[in-house]
């Protein structure tokens, strides 16, 4: 964000939180703290915290590298070391970063993992990624297989399978690495804090149903998901952050104000959009600016559900600690099948009174991207609204063609204008 722009307290608080986490990681070895590399979807942050283990999230490192302008160099390094140009750029960015000294976003070195905790949820590439990291780090590795909701629902058998793995594989591995016994009461306490934060988190995103929307649920949303999707779910710090954020959003609703953008408050809301797919990180602010300069606000997005879908009522439940963690893992957005994803997008369009929806398809991510053109047509049929389709990548700047993206977005917004004029003419 532009430093000259007014920052709300929650923004400053989040910056402190995340900066503090990276500083703690940089000193983990000397402080005797253990770290586990794991992934955002289906992360077991509460369980890690119950063992005082610090999470490191390689895909967050990759996107941070992209936002710092480092990803091109890291990807080039990975490709030079034999990685194909065809595969996920998160993997290559992370691999290149590791091979370049594993320096994190604060400029300090990240610790080598004491444990590679592969929470295999919603993305096949995760499996390959951790096979690669295991070869490099020679660290103990544990796999938690979370079944895919292929037929549109998480079954009892799926949940039991995950719980068994937690009990018999993951927890013993954590006990071995940390030398600590599993303390279920401690986990329950942490899960209770998660549930508190999740209430406020849901309220923040639901506020986008207001007109104007007080938030941008995609570009702004990726900041809002930061603490809860990463190292802070289950902490008092996350509870405080989301309470603070919710109060700020409520104040904007009361004031009839729109979202804050990197260039200041958004003056007017002209278009309300739903977005499917992850953002581009190498030109994140430029991408956002294309929207807010046109008065387009994203009122709901699917990307902000990759680390957990809470809007349907799921909350971590201290009364059922492991079952609750299993249900959380099973419920992440990319673990939903395509019809369920299309239904959710169509529901967003209706519930958030959106003018249209846009799919941002990224080359790197088959989990999101494969089948999105079929989703597009299905949502169009369900909502009666035409959708837009834009392509780029997560962290490879070679695939972000700004003028192309801008042209497509502007054309789409013009089409919405034309439809509005047509609707007005018909009403007369």
């Amino acid at each position: 964000m532009n430093d000259s722009i007014h920052k709300e307290p929650s923004m400053l608080r989040q910056k402190e939180l995340i900066g503090g986490h990276y500083r703690k990681l940089a000193r983990a070895k000397e402080a005797g703290l253990k770290s586990a590399y794991t992934f955002v979807p289906g992360n077991l942050t509460e369980l890690l915290l119950a063992f005082d283990v610090l999470p490191v999230l390689p895909e967050i490192n990759a996107l941070q590298s992209a936002m710092r302008g480092k990803s091109a160099e890291y990807i080039a390094k990975a490709e030079k070391l034999g990685q194909s140009e065809d595969v996920c750029t998160y993997v290559k960015c992370d691999y290149g970063m590791m091979k370049s000294g594993n320096v994190g976003p604060t400029g300090e070195r990240l610790p080598d993992p004491d444990l590679l905790l592969l929470s295999y949820t919603g993305c096949f590439t995760f499996l390959k990624w951790f096979e690669l990291l295991r070869e490099e780090y020679k660290a103990p590795t544990v796999m938690l297989h979370v079944p895919y909701q292929g037929d549109g629902a998480a079954t009892r058998e799926m949940r039991d399978y995950v719980v068994k793995q937690l009990r018999r594989v993951v927890i013993p591995a954590l006990e071995k690495v940390t030398g600590k016994r599993y303390d279920e009461d401690r986990l329950r306490h942490i899960l209770a804090l998660s549930a508190q934060a999740e209430e406020d988190f849901v309220a923040v995103f639901r506020a986008a149903r207001n007109r104007p929307s007080p938030i941008d649920a995609y570009f702004g949303g990726v900041y809002y998901i930061g603490p809860i999707f990463t190292a802070f779910r289950g902490t008092q710090a996350a509870v405080d952050y989301y309470r603070m954020l919710r109060a700020e959003v409520d104040a904007r609703v009361a004031a009839g104000a729109g979202p804050l953008t990197p260039d200041g408050p958004m003056p007017r809301e002209k278009y309300r959009l739903v977005v499917e797919g992850p953002p581009n990180w190498t030109s994140f602010h430029e991408f956002w600016r294309m929207f807010h300069e046109e008065g387009a606000v994203v009122v709901a997005s699917t990307y902000t559900k990759v680390g957990g879908v809470y809007e349907d009522g799921f909350r971590h439940d201290p009364a059922r600690p492991l079952e609750s963690l299993a249900e959380y893992c099973l419920g992440c957005y990319t673990n939903h099948n395509l019809p369920a994803r299309a239904d959710r997008i169509a529901r967003y369009v209706q519930d958030y009174e959106a003018d249209g929806f846009l799919i941002h398809s990224v080359k790197s991510c088959d989990s999101f991207s494969a089948g999105q053109l079929v989703i597009l047509r299905d949502v169009e049929q369900k909502t009666g609204r035409a959708g837009a389709f834009i392509e780029s990548d997560l962290v490879d700047p070679r695939y972000f063609a700004a003028s192309n993206v801008k042209n497509r977005l502007e054309s789409y917004l013009q089409m919405i204008d034309q439809q509005r004029r047509g609707a007005t003419a018909c009403a007369r």
Binding site: G82, S84, V87, T125, K128, L132, M143, H145, Y148
Partner: protein
């Protein structure tokens, strides 16, 4: 040369090729006419419980893409340019009605593209069975085994709900026996190719194996038996070719002309990962006990190391090196389809393993509908020459 045997062999290979590349699935349609009311269930690579499908009185049908036999129009409208070719040709076959003879499709867990294809199928063909088969990544019989057994039990119920017969002890026994036998014959084919590759050109073995995608196990076994008898009877002279293993072509299949190109370039392909369905599990399914648990536990204990399965122990690529050693291979050709995540993400680790083992290797990419192979021929020819000239020097 035994003229009648050579002619019979040529005829058999011609028939196998016609079956293997028949995008109208005529053999499946004919089977359904002979078995009124019975289901035909398609599955995409790499593995499906064929015994289970057969025990339900249904025909398991391997759907491995349209190769270069199908012009892709509708399929391209469903997939971006950076997605591999297989799903677009499978969708094309579906939307053009060529897969109408199938009552359902199974999508085993192999990658996100195939996973999402299961959802695409649900959206495009809402009246057909479309099921994602999540193979376990935990290999403890009490954890992954219980889950997998439940998955298989669910599959039985899905098939029965579509009109398949509920398996009986007799139908289980028959289906498991027939598929065990088929597995043995497929392995015999590959063993003969390893031992005497001049007798079994890969371009022949491949179409004979691929014909099994559209035949019941017993008919395919008969074809294999005939082929094995004929190639043993027909004299073929050994050539001074380099013995290679081809790795990475397990899902989207290489064009037949690509295989011929590699052979013409001076390579004997003595190991590969094409068409893995009948050989993915390297052991018989036992006839005793609960058949669902038997399939699940055989898979857990004997599924071959593969890009789609978590490498639980050892180092990635060890299995490939072992396969190459067993086959007496002098080199490895990494042949991955463009945009194939499992193959391409494995490749650097496997190349490193080959490097450590002193196994020469090279890589190239292809699509199932690739038509130009001159570059690959030159690359493979140089590779084969280098092996023959310099290996063991």
């Amino acid at each position: 040369m035994s003229q009648p045997a050579a002619a019979a062999l040529a005829q058999l290979v011609e028939r196998a090729e016609a079956l293997a590349y028949d995008v109208e699935y005529s053999a499946v349609r004919a089977w359904k006419e002979r078995h009124p009311g019975a289901l035909a269930i398609g599955f995409v690579p790499v593995w499906a419980p064929r015994e289970l499908i057969a025990a339900c009185g249904a025909l398991p049908v391997g759907v491995v893409g349209g190769g270069d036999k199908v012009e892709i129009i509708k399929g391209d409208a469903c997939y971006q340019s950076y997605v591999c070719h297989l799903p677009r040709s499978v969708v094309e076959l579906g939307l053009n009605g060529r897969l109408d003879c199938l009552d359902g499709m199974l999508f085993p867990s192999i990658c996100d593209v195939i996973r999402n294809l299961s959802g695409v199928w649900k959206l495009l063909f809402p009246n057909k069975l479309s099921h994602y088969l999540d193979l376990p990544q935990d290999f403890d019989p009490e954890i992954g085994g219980d889950f997998f057994r439940a998955e298989l039990a669910q599959l039985v119920e899905l098939l029965v709900a579509r009109g398949a017969r509920r398996p009986t002890p007799a139908s289980w026994r028959q289906a498991i026996t027939e598929h065990n036998e088929n597995r043995h014959l497929v392995e015999e084919l590959h063993a003969l190719r390893r031992e005497q590759p001049w007798r079994v050109p890969t371009s022949e073995a491949y179409v004979v194996a691929r014909a099994g995608c559209v035949l019941p196990a017993t008919e395919h076994s008969a074809l294999l038996r005939d082929y094995l008898a004929l190639v043993r009877a027909v004299p073929r002279a050994p050539l001074d070719n380099a013995r290679v293993v081809v790795a990475g072509a397990f899902c989207e299949q290489p064009p037949l002309d690509l295989l011929k190109t590699l052979e013409r370039a001076g390579c004997y392909i003595v190991g590969d990962d094409f068409l893995l369905a009948p050989r993915f599990v390297r052991a018989d399914v036992p006839l005793e006990g609960d058949p669902l648990a038997a399939i699940a536990n055989t898979w857990l204990a004997h599924a071959q190391p593969h890009a789609s399965v978590w490498t639980r122990a050892g180092t990635k690529g060890d299995d490939l090196v072992a396969l190459a050693r067993k086959a007496g291979a002098e080199g490895v050709l990494f042949a991955a389809p463009s945009f194939c995540d499992p193959a391409l993400l494995d490749q650097p680790m496997q190349e490193a393993a080959c490097g450590r083992a002193g196994l020469p290797h090279m890589h190239f990419k292809y699509s199932e509908n690739s038509g130009q192979f001159q570059g690959i021929r030159e690359q493979a020819g140089t590779f084969a020459d280098a092996i023959k000239l310099w290996s063991g020097a």
